[in-house]
């Protein structure tokens, strides 16, 4: 499968969202998910000939592998040499898991008309929705549901009160739910 520039573009939000789920909270200030995605897209573009799959699912899995490498390197650079052999594998597995969760979180896999839309497509669409949210709401949702930080820690990371974070979560989820019903489940 030959992949064009525009095709890669379709995955930008998806990859940026996944990158967010993997960035350690203490590196939030120093690492920008957009940069990581930019680098990943560049690598993917250069290695496009290596891609051997022919389905969307395979392409997305391949992009996740690349993203995992970039995230691992970025984090390693920040830590200056402390490395864990399994870091990259872990990141990749977590990315796979985050992606699967993305597909299932909002829309029940039973309810999705799988004939109409594949899980990968759902994941990509949900990622688009999440990326459209106001920054604060999106950050709260990623930290709380994907990184599974308790409310207090999310509040500390974002420099807000727990109540404010709860409000962000509520408004974010309400928007997601509404838009998902509008755009994903016909």
């Amino acid at each position: 499968m030959k992949i064009s520039e525009q095709q890669f573009e379709r995955y930008r939000n998806y990859l940026r969202f996944l990158a967010r789920t993997q960035l350690p909270t203490h590196l939030r200030a120093r690492l920008d998910p957009s940069d990581i995605v930019q680098q990943s897209m560049l690598q993917a573009h250069q290695a496009a000939d290596d891609f051997r799959g022919d389905s969307d699912a395979e392409l997305m899995a391949w992009l996740r592998t690349i993203l995992a490498g970039v995230v691992a390197h970025a984090v390693r650079d920040q830590h200056r040499g402390v490395r864990d052999v399994f870091k990259e594998h872990n990141i990749q597995q977590q990315l796979d898991q985050s992606s699967l969760f993305l597909a299932n979180a909002l829309i029940s896999p039973l309810k999705t008309p799988s004939v109409v839309m594949h899980q990968e497509e759902v994941a990509r669409n949900v990622a688009d929705l999440v990326e459209e949210l106001p920054d604060a709401q999106r950050d709260a949702i990623v930290l709380h549901y994907w990184q599974q930080l308790p409310l207090k820690q999310v509040a500390e990371t974002l420099g807000k009160s727990p109540a404010a974070v709860a409000g962000l979560l509520q408004r974010g989820l309400a928007t997601l739910r509404e838009k998902a019903e509008e755009k994903i489940v016909p």
């Binding site: 899995a61 699967l100 969760f101 409310l151 727990p162 509520q170 309400a174």
Partner: protein
């Protein structure tokens, strides 16, 4: 509590406080009653209920998702299409072993090349991913099986040296690992990809694989997941079977569907009993089936069943006959084809009883002697057809009811034959017979009279057709009162057709009885005076034989459970 004079921002803040409290309760493991909470804050009812529903959905999905995910990874489904960069940093330790590099991924987890520093031994470490087991019991059983497999000492079986759990802290903590011999070379799946085997090469290699399997069966170990990828080939092309008994843990869940509808194991090589989830009947014959599937693949380059989706493949494994290998590769020897098809029989009883029996047949084939599975042998073929039993799982509970049906049919026909009756009385007795039969069926099926599965639907249609024909014939015979019209001779012909149909659906013996009914039709035309009792007796015999055969079947299957 809110007061009526709250302004909008104050209301907002109150909602946020309530939500924060709810979230912290959930995190602390407190069960929150959403309705009660909503009742306490009626102003926020809508937002609260909606948020709690979505929040709980997210939490639940995140949980089931990670479980499903781990199973997915375990089964090797989530392999990426591009190559993942290999890890080369040494000195990560698992037990006494130092991991050198990743060599494979998939199946049960990740495989590393590793070295034992004091023994100077290079091994393969297979790492099972955490969360691989449904329960502690499943994990214990798995270890027991692995220990049994580890004791298998045979040149055709990859020896397991060591089993353990990573106990030092780190990302691998808690994961189960195996240290086994490192076989340098390739595996049968890759070998087949590059080149197919011819008939004699297949038989030669298969004999060595079967030999190893026979050895394992002798020690009470069943492989359960035999497939080309589990047969490693060393540099001298010697086969070494790996992953013995390791697939046990995968049998525990009844339905093994992951979030995206994938199934565990390798459906193309899975036996019908595994594919239909009848794990209790998994035995040595299961491996025999897989051996047949492996030989099939060596000759044709594909497993016996392959469909677009896993579910479709499993359906085929359970219901369809495999395409004969010679259809895909004309050069396959007919005798070898017969051997393979015998391995691939749906019913374990119809396969080779032991690996040794299979091995002997393969040896006969190589020497050019006749093989026991050969289909050229017409008598043997007919014998198999007559003894074949299909769909018995649908009808196992029927044996007692069928005995009753047999008795009812016999008694009524004897009465109709020998007790002098007026036509009205005979009709009444016939009506009584049918209500009694319906009653028997009604009891046997706990009050359900409608057919519940395809086999029963067939039988129902046949029965209704039979009764309609009977009534129509009766009317015809009465209208045309010529002495030659014999109701029972005509019904014998109808019965003959019905039994030939049942022969294909239930039991091969029905073919034989169908033939008898055809003969009976002729006999009855000659001696019409005994029509009723002869006709009734033959039907009684049919029901009796079917009852006996299901009684045996259910004894066999309850034995296996």
């Amino acid at each position: 509590m809110s007061t009526p004079n709250h302004s909008q921002p104050q209301l907002f803040r109150e909602l946020e406080e309530v939500l924060a409290e709810y979230l912290q309760d959930v995190e602390a493991g407190v069960k929150v009653d959403a309705e009660a909470l909503a009742a306490r804050y009626p102003k926020h009812r809508h937002e609260l209920l909606e948020f709690i529903a979505t929040d709980q959905q997210f939490r639940e999905r995140s949980k089931t998702n990670s479980e499903a995910f781990q199973r997915t990874v375990l089964s090797g489904i989530s392999q990426s299409a591009g190559s993942a960069p290999a890890i080369t940093t040494p000195l990560q330790k698992v037990g006494e072993y130092e991991l050198l590099e990743e060599i494979d991924r998939g199946g049960m987890g990740v495989v590393f090349k590793a070295r034992h520093p004091t023994l100077r031994r290079t091994v393969a470490i297979k790492m099972l991913l955490a969360g691989a087991f449904a329960s502690e019991e499943a994990e214990r059983r798995f270890r027991r099986e692995a220990a049994a497999a580890a004791r298998l000492n045979h040149p055709g079986i990859v020896p397991v040296y060591d089993v353990g759990v990573v106990d030092h802290p780190g990302s691998l903590q808690g994961q189960t690992w195996f240290a086994m011999a490192l076989v340098e070379g390739t595996d049968l799946a890759r070998r087949i990809e590059s080149e197919l085997f011819d008939s004699s090469a297949t038989a030669q290699l298969a004999i060595r694989i079967v030999d190893a399997i026979h050895f394992a069966h002798g020690k009470g170990v069943i492989h359960r997941d035999l497939k080309p990828a589990n047969i490693l080939l060393d540099e001298n092309k010697n086969p070494h079977i790996t992953d013995f008994g390791l697939s046990r843990s995968q049998d525990d869940n009844e339905t093994q569907l992951t979030a995206d509808g994938q199934i565990f194991g390798t459906p193309g090589y899975m036996s019908p009993e595994q594919a239909s989830g009848k794990n209790a009947s998994v035995g040595p014959e299961t491996d025999i089936y897989s051996l047949g599937a492996v030989m099939y693949c060596m000759l044709t380059g594909r497993p016996p069943f392959r469909a677009n989706s896993t579910v479709a493949t499993l359906q085929q494994v359970v219901h369809d006959a495999p395409a004969p290998p010679r259809l895909l590769n004309r050069s396959v020897h007919p005798d070898l084809e017969s051997i393979i098809l015998k391995c691939l029989e749906k019913n374990p009883i119809d396969r080779y009883a032991t690996a040794d029996e299979l091995k002997r047949d393969l040896e006969h084939f190589l020497k050019g002697e006749s093989v026991s599975a050969a289909s050229i042998n017409l008598v043997g073929y007919l014998g198999r057809v007559l003894a074949s039993s299909r769909n018995s799982e649908f009808l196992e509970g029927w044996s007692r009811a069928l005995y009753a049906v047999s008795a009812v049919v016999l008694v009524f026909h004897v009465v109709l034959q020998f007790v002098p009756l007026t036509p009205t009385q005979a009709t009444l007795i016939n009506a009584g017979k049918y209500s009694l039969l319906l009653g028997v069926i009604w009891r046997a099926r706990d009050g359900i009279l409608t057919p519940q599965n395809p086999v029963e639907r067939t039988i129902w249609s046949l029965w209704i057709g039979y009764i309609l024909t009977y009534v129509a014939t009766e009317i015809m015979v009465r209208l045309d009162s010529s002495p030659n019209a014999n109701l029972y001779a005509i019904m014998s012909l109808v019965s003959s057709v019905i039994l030939l149909v049942l022969g294909g659906h239930l039991w091969g013996g029905c073919y034989l009885i169908g033939g008898l009914f055809a003969i009976l039709a002729v006999v009855l035309t000659a001696i019409p005076q005994l029509s009723i009792v002869l006709f009734g007796s033959l039907w009684a015999i049919v029901f009796f034989l079917l009852a006996r055969s299901y009684q045996k079947q259910s004894r066999v299957s309850s034995h296996q459970v």
